[in-house]
């Protein structure tokens, strides 16, 4: 698994590629939590993620909790079929803010 972090319009985007499993999820978790500390809006690009297991999902849940606790925004985008399937099986599609494209992920939600 590889990650690449960039900034765009005030949002930190983490591009993730490869497999997220027991051996790679600790690095995935650390990258996301470190990125979240330095930003108010974190977008995770999962377009090139071929596989994610429950440890990867647990990492995403942990980052979501950290974002909620600090009043920050976490959005996931570019979910391919294997990632969607695991989120559905774990019944977590509703708790994450999920967008199809990077453009949609960068849109600031309208308040009220």
């Amino acid at each position: 698994m590889k990650t690449f972090t960039r900034e765009l319009n005030g949002t930190t985007i983490v591009d993730v590629a490869g497999d997220i499993d027991m051996s790679t999820s600790p690095g995935f978790r650390t990258t996301l939590l470190d990125s979240l500390k330095k930003t108010h809006r974190l977008a995770v690009n999962l377009t090139d993620v071929r596989y994610v297991d429950s440890s990867g999902i647990a990492s995403l849940v942990e980052v979501l909790k950290a974002a909620r606790n600090t009043d920050k925004r976490l959005v996931l985008f570019g979910l391919n079929r294997p990632v969607q399937e695991v989120l559905q099986l774990t019944r977590l599609t509703k708790i994450f803010e999920i967008r199809k494209t990077e453009k949609e992920a960068l849109e600031v939600p309208q308040e009220g």
Partner: protein, 158 residues
């Protein structure tokens, strides 16, 4: 008699082959090998006749089972042995794991309510959701886990 490409009989399709398949692996409890095992399981399930999404599900279940063995039975030690056996019949695919680690905590392997914000415990739920049968057993000196997935009904012959 020569057996060139033209004369060779067409390879039987997996569902038409009808025979059983048996693959046994002996692997160390090293998480870096999970990716290798996933490739093997995905291909094995495809050969058995499962559809793409079912192959992904079976692969995920096997990966979660191995991760649980490494994490819980072997306490993240990477040099312990796991025996894994994939057996396919015309009716089902069965995967058996044997480890020599700590006993399985029954409270963790039985279905519990899925907490949306819990950080752990989803692996077992995934296994139970994907596979048709899940059986944990304590055996002398270790644990045995058997996972079973039934094959979809045979397609009617055209």
């Amino acid at each position: 008699m020569s057996c060139d490409e033209q004369n060779a009989p067409a390879a039987p399709r997996p569902r038409e082959a009808g025979g059983s398949l048996d693959l046994q692996l002996r692997l160390p409890s090293d998480p870096r090998l999970l990716a290798v095992v996933r490739c093997t399981v995905a291909e094995f399930a495809a050969v058995c006749g499962f559809k793409d999404d079912q192959c992904r599900g079976i692969t995920l279940a096997v990966d979660e089972a191995l991760s649980n063995i490494i994490r819980h039975a072997y306490k993240n030690r990477c040099d312990q042995e796991i025996e894994m056996r994939l057996q396919a019949s015309p009716e089902c695919l069965q995967v058996t794991f044997i480890d020599r680690g700590e006993p399985v905590d029954r409270s963790k392997c039985c279905a519990q309510p899925l907490d949306a914000v819990a950080l752990g415990g989803r692996g077992t739920h995934l296994i139970r959701q994907i596979m048709d049968e899940v059986c944990y057993e304590r055996v002398p000196g270790g644990n045995r886990l058997r996972l079973k997935k039934c094959l979809p009904q045979a397609r009617p012959t055209p």
